[in-house]
């Protein structure tokens, strides 16, 4: 006797659970039961579990009977002629949806050739085991899984045409590629997902050689002529947003050109782009510090007295301007209302981003790298037929990572470009690499994809044959111009007087504990002191009480906090330490500083 559970609730018992399960499945295939039903016989506890709940993950599989798939050529023909559709197949019991539980009772064949009489189901396509992104990697079955998942992750960060209505959208931090292309070596997933409608990369000519170490450690070298023709060029968009907020007491913000009496008024120069409504005009070229939306706000803290004293000059400047290091062109100005019905202004900033040293690129095989050099076309090695590659990729990236699919794509795209057709590189189901070689040979090229190359400086033929081919390259959204940051002196924190942290606050770069240790290990004692001088202060210390003194405005001198006659000496220390001493005092600990002459 086996217990039967329906959606986790005990409903009864059956004599023969395996038979019972098969009965239910048969009924389901005959549409006598809902196809949303899944049955599982658990051989561990001998119980039968029937599930019809929401939220189970199910996947379609082809039903197999006596070692033969129910889906036949005639079905496929009918599908092509659109006489039949997918849900018809489900209704006919040819394809059924299986959940994780029911799968335990099945034997699923990966490809049709594997089918035996023991099999109960067949995968619709071998590609099913991959995610959407990983199935976009061509020839994925030739590459380690780790690289495959890196390749699919990198594609998510690529710059392309993310949405066709981007001109009227206000998305934060997005890029649009100027000249996107569809890949030459593709997988079936490119067609299924309509990749052509939103492509993310460009087909480049790639040579696999070293270039004077400028492409070592995963760097790449770009051809300057290619960059000038628009390789990887994209537009960067960032909206700037301002609301007219309402405050208690009937006060509210006002979007306008701030009056000169307003508290915190910058300078006339800063407001020069604003039109009468206090908003910038489209196509204005702006740089850091320029005001984009002029705004004035009521005072921050309203005391009871101020209510009777609302003069103009209590208003506060709160305009939005470009942050440190930002620049661009005003692309779009949008006037609207927010949820509360207040006036809302959005200004979109546009910036053309031309590939430069430090920008990140990747192929679809987890072979990412940054630009190490943008090379004049005259200095790029050229092939016997006069081709200069767009990109130079380092051969050292291949052996340890074993990304064979990367190598196959190079030949594949080369063949595609020569024969004028797309190459199908669908994982597990691709055009064989040997065919590509044959076709390449027929076009008059070397079958292994190598070519004779010439040194551009000397004009001499290179001894080695260089591997040259096509490759679909993606520009990734991480660009140096958004990240580059340095500082000499700048803002400090109020509490500790140490430099602020982070690019947005123009912060310093921290010399941490381990870095400090290296100074000590070198014995560079005074250099270390100089590095940590950022919060240096002079504190007047009373020699008698050992506490910090104060400045007496009347007597025009420093006074000891305890004794009247205490002698005051100036002591240099870090402000953070002074703060620590103050915190000791708050804990009722008396941090007495003893002084003595240094020499």
């Amino acid at each position: 006797m086996a217990e039967v559970y329906l959606n986790g609730k005990f409903v009864g018992e059956v004599e023969n659970p395996v038979e019972f399960r098969e009965k239910i499945v048969a009924e389901r295939r005959n549409n006598k039961m809902d196809n949303n039903l899944n049955v599982m016989f658990n051989s561990e506890d001998g119980n039968l579990y029937i599930e019809s709940n929401k939220g189970r993950i199910r996947r379609p599989l082809i039903v197999v009977k006596e070692g033969k798939a129910l889906l036949t050529e005639t079905h496929i023909k009918q599908l092509d002629e659109e006489k039949l559709n997918f849900s018809d197949l489900v209704k006919q019991g040819i394809i059924e949806y299986i959940d994780a539980g029911e799968e335990e009772n099945l034997l699923v064949a990966f490809v049709e050739e594997d089918l035996t009489t023991a099999h109960t189901h067949l995968e619709i396509a071998a590609l099913d085991i991959l995610s959407l992104c990983s199935s976009l990697v061509p020839y994925g079955n030739h590459t380690p899984g780790a690289r495959l998942s890196m390749g699919s992750k990198n594609q998510k960060q690529s710059v392309g045409l993310y949405a066709t209505n981007f001109p009227i959208r206000m998305d934060m931090d997005v890029n649009v590629l100027y000249q996107p292309q569809t890949p030459l070596v593709r997988s079936i997933m490119h067609d299924v997902s309509k990749y052509d409608k939103h492509p993310c990369g460009q087909n480049l000519v790639v040579a696999v050689i070293d270039y004077k170490g400028y492409n070592m450690d995963d760097a790449i070298v770009l051809n300057k002529a290619s960059v000038e023709r628009g390789l990887g060029r994209c537009a960067y968009f960032r909206p700037i947003l301002a609301d007219e907020l309402r405050y208690s007491g009937g006060l509210m913000d006002e979007i306008t050109i701030p009056d000169k009496e307003v508290k915190g008024y910058k300078s006339e120069e800063d407001y020069k782009f604003l039109e009468e409504d206090g908003i910038i005009f489209p196509e204005a070229k702006i740089k850091e510090g320029d005001v984009v939306i002029g705004k004035v706000s009521p005072p921050r803290f309203l005391s009871s007295l101020d209510e009777y004293n609302l003069s103009l000059n209590t208003k506060r400047e709160s305009s939005l301007s470009l942050k440190h290091g930002e620049a661009g062109i005003v692309d779009l100005v949008l006037l609207s209302e927010n949820k509360e019905g207040n006036k809302m202004v959005q200004v979109r900033l546009r910036k053309q981003k031309i590939p430069e040293i430090g920008d990140k690129f990747t192929s679809r095989h987890g072979q990412k790298g940054v630009i190490g050099l943008v090379l004049d076309q005259a200095d790029v090695p050229f092939t016997a037929s006069g081709i200069t590659p767009d990109l130079i990729f380092s051969p050292h990236g291949i052996p340890s990572r074993m990304t064979i699919s990367h190598l196959i794509e190079l030949v594949g795209a080369k063949t595609a470009a020569l024969s004028g057709r797309y190459i199908d590189g669908t994982t597990f189901n691709s055009e064989p690499e040997s065919e590509l070689r044959k076709e390449l040979l027929a076009h008059g090229f070397k079958e292994n994809g190598t070519e004779t190359m010439y040194n551009p400086k000397t004009g001499k033929k290179m001894k080695a044959k260089i591997y040259v081919g096509g490759m679909y390259y993606l520009r990734l959204k991480h660009m140096v111009s958004n990240k580059m940051h340095s500082r000499a002196t700048g803002p400090v924190q109020l509490l500790t007087r140490q430099p602020t942290e982070g690019k947005a606050k123009e912060g310093g770069l921290r010399l941490g504990e381990m870095e400090k240790d290296t100074f000590v290990a070198h014995g560079a004692s005074l250099l270390l002191k100089e590095r940590f001088d950022s919060d240096r202060t002079i504190v007047p210390i009373c020699e008698e009480s050992g506490l910090a003194g104060y400045y007496d405005e009347f007597k025009k001198q420093y006074m000891s906090p305890l004794s009247k006659e205490g002698k005051i000496s100036n002591v240099e220390m870090s402000y953070a330490f002074k703060l620590l001493l103050d915190e000791f005092k708050s804990l009722c600990i008396y941090p007495k500083i003893g002084l003595k002459t240094k020499y």
């Binding site: 290990a521 014995g523 220390m573 330490f577 009722c588």
Partner: protein, 379 residues
Amino acid sequence: MDKVIKEYKKLLPESIIEEIKKLVPKASDAKMKKIMEAVYQEYLDSKVEAGESVGLVAAESVGEPGTQMTLNTKHFSGVAELNVTMGLPRIIEILDARKKISTPMMEIYLQKPYCNGKDIKKIALSIKETKLGEIITEFAISIAEQTVEFTINEKRFADLDVEFKDIKDLIKKTKKVPSCTMKQKENVITLTAKEDGDIRKLYEIKESLKEVVIQGIAGITQVLPVKRGNEYIIITAGSNLKKILAKEFVDPTKTNSNDLYETCAVLGIEATRQTIINEVSKVIDSQGLNIDIRHITLIADMMCFSGDIKGVTRYGVVKEKSSILARASFETPIRHIFSAGLTGEVDYLTSVIENVMINQPVPVGTGLPDLVTKVKTVK
């Protein structure tokens, strides 16, 4: 020649002079002088200069390769059953001076005839702790007669160096077993409880019987005779130096344990220091890393110089720091500051961390030398 050597006796360590004597048995005075001068220069060059922060360099030199170490590797010495903790966990265990280590081990070297392999298996087995429970085939408890009866597996018993009559004495000696009268009939021993008790009492007797040690040394759970170089040694899992060294077949000059506290109790602090050095080096070598032995000796010195073992923790080495600020910056700052406040401690700002905190030159390297001048007092 001897005269020249004598001259340098005060300048060079004895071991170096001995080595020179060995390498250059005969030389003229002038030549010897030249050699000695060259050696002395080399010796001075290899010395650490004043103001070098050796401790920090040692810490960095051990810490950096530590980041490359594979975590949690177990090393199997020979047979799969005997595994030893290696890698980072072992390093942490040693440097923290843990009282209880995860895999205590001994290397037992043997005296002359035995180290060539004579009776090696028998000796190894005689050390191994064997409990009564391991050789008993069945128990029989009778409530009516208040007896516990057990049968000994004769085959396994024959391997041991014990006789049947000894077992009775061994049971009597073991304090955990409640007192009772015993009867023996070949390989069957019957125990009768002295006081009339319930079944729980009998069960207690039965369970305690299993724990009776009938042969070997307590704590040694596994033995493994191996050949190292051209002599046989015994590697054990579990450690008990004191009892092992008492055995006559053991070579007490070489036998060692990897348990720091046991080594300290039996062999003293100098042996402990050497054990720290050996054990740390062993891990580093097994990981294929290369750390200069002097860094490790410095750490070992630091841990042992007081006479007790002190771990590199807030209870050990760090506790010994004189500076309050330095201690507070390591771990549990509030506790250190409060106790310093209660007792009125003074920080003389003589070390590195305090001076970094107050932004003064640290007293190492270029920060060490001071300019000394006489300040003229104006009258």
